[in-house]
Symmetry: C2
């Protein structure tokens, strides 16, 4: 068939995979122009504190000083959210509308080397970036006002990065976004119906099917999802069923970091060094016992273009790159 409507096993939403223009996958792989590398000299993250960034919350290696840190976890200099002050913000009415003060935590992980993005780091440091967010996550979840924590990287200006020097972010907020609720509810519904985790079912199918697999190791697997909302979307999942990013044991975290490094290396090499975002989807903080059906994972989205009117109006994405073709190009 020429174009397909595909339904997400989790949310129930649809996408259109349009393969009418056979040359599109290869065209996409060539869209990106040479990256503009910012000079080290004016970089605000070479010496973060000298440039007005807050003191680190902690560093790796633990106890390292001004000169020998490898990773800093610190507050964002320009937060969109205010820091909580131990009491939750009251919800109030403004006319018919509901509103509350945006209290939350907005943090950064900065890696030391100006030129080493995630996939260029030694595996031990790549793992420590994830471990650093785990540690920070476990600090934040003691604040009972926080309901969800999102961890992500913006790489390149079109993906929202205002600073070139590689860095990673987390935003902790007092509400669960609707988008996350929908995924959690979908995962719950699937589990109740099939007595199986929906992500475990996908992993098993993809490994057996092989066509969309890009990489696997003992702990993690990388594939282009059948339900890919954008061209060359890539998913990285721990193979074992972990619901909570923050509780994942070090061995699985290291395997997942290795898989994420491999995936990003392939994206960079085979798509001509595109800007991209990656983000973690994990279960909400509260009512943990209710979310054991969920399976945390990482999504990578190379940034090709702005979304247009149809996608804005419907949130239904038209993807011109068949995930099978994407996997073939990415595996090279």
């Amino acid at each position: 068939m020429s174009s397909e409507l595909r339904q997400d096993l989790v949310s129930g939403d649809w996408i259109i995979v349009s393969t009418n223009r056979k040359d599109r996958p290869r065209q996409f792989a060539k869209i990106f122009k040479k990256r503009k590398v910012s000079a080290k000299s004016g970089c605000p993250f070479e010496d973060p504190q000298k440039n007005g960034n807050p003191e680190p919350i902690f560093v790796y290696p633990k106890g390292a000083g001004k000169n020998d840190w490898k990773i800093q976890i610190l507050g964002n200099k320009y937060p969109a959210l205010s820091r909580p002050v131990n009491t939750c913000a009251p919800v109030f009415k403004n006319g018919p509308y509901t509103t509350t003060e945006a209290l939350g935590y907005q943090d950064l992980a900065i890696t030391r080397d100006h030129h080493k993005n995630f996939s260029d780091l030694p595996l031990i440091e790549a793992t420590q970036v994830l471990k650093g967010f785990q540690e920070r996550y476990n600090m934040i979840l003691k604040d009972s006002c926080i309901s969800y924590i999102s961890i992500f990287q913006n790489w390149g200006p079109t993906a929202g990065a205002s600073v070139y020097h590689p860095h990673y972010q987390s935003i902790a907020i007092p509400v669960v976004p609707l988008h996350i609720k929908i995924s959690i509810n979908g995962s719950d519904r699937f589990y109740k119906e099939h007595k199986k985790c929906v992500y475990c079912v996908m992993i098993e199918h993809e490994i057996k099917n092989k066509r969309r697999i890009i990489y696997e190791n003992e702990e993690a697997v990388v594939f282009t999802p059948f339900f890919s909302e954008s061209p060359f979307e890539v998913r990285v999942l721990p193979k074992k069923h972990f619901s909570y990013f923050e509780d994942t044991p070090e061995k699985a975290l290291k395997g997942t970091a290795a898989a994420l490094q491999y995936a990003l290396k392939k994206v960079t090499k085979n798509l001509n060094d595109p800007d991209y975002n990656f983000f973690i989807h994990t279960a909400p903080i509260k009512n943990k016992e209710k979310h054991t059906h969920y399976h945390w994972h990482i999504e990578i989205r190379p940034k090709f273009f702005n979304i247009a009117g149809f996608e804005l109006g419907t949130n239904l994405e038209i993807n011109e790159v068949d995930p099978d073709k994407a996997a073939k190009i990415l595996r090279k």
Copy 2:
């Protein structure tokens, strides 16, 4: 307060309105650079059929020929969807996934003048653009396989327009997008709880409150929504409660076209001629009797930037422009 979490009365989702950086609204208003106007000579829409576009489905004025048409409604030359052939596509399984052939209609409205965008048209022609889509909508809904029709404009390359010459689009699909279902369900829930239409409540509040109002006439109102997902978002609503775009009487349609023209003129003038999308949100085609609580409307989204990792991962938008400030700038 510095930053606010605001909840959508319809969907229940949240946004963050971050006003920590006081200079941002005025900065946004200056982001856009001079628009690149494509020459008339190579334009594929000056003589659409000579350039390989399909024959018009109909034209305005009715019965006009090759030389005196003002508006053409015609099929898209490069559709992402295939045309239905009177039978609905069967749904089938691909491993654990659900998929179906993407059958649907993808149409264009092309206005005659190369340089006249929506707000520059004589009111009668602006109204005819909406009327043309109404007429086309009413043709398509006879196809019982179609469930939802989205009508929109992409203006400028960053908003997804590949051709400069002003044109408008509709995409008719055999499923209701989840995003639309959520709005419909939210509108239904509000109606059941309050015995009032949620959009009528907002219109009444905004007109009384005045601060976010940009324009009103007898038939329609324009304001920046309290729940604005992106900077300088603008909403245009018929004042009377019409659930279905396609059933709106000509007088209300004309008033809404005038309001949309006014809104787009202000966006163009006060935001330095930005690219933008506008789209119609209307009730789904099927089970009409169930959606009388809904109130169709138009949303305008000036296109400032790509969304980043947090927004991609959570669909929760951080808007740096307070809608009250946006209205103040747009009213000028």
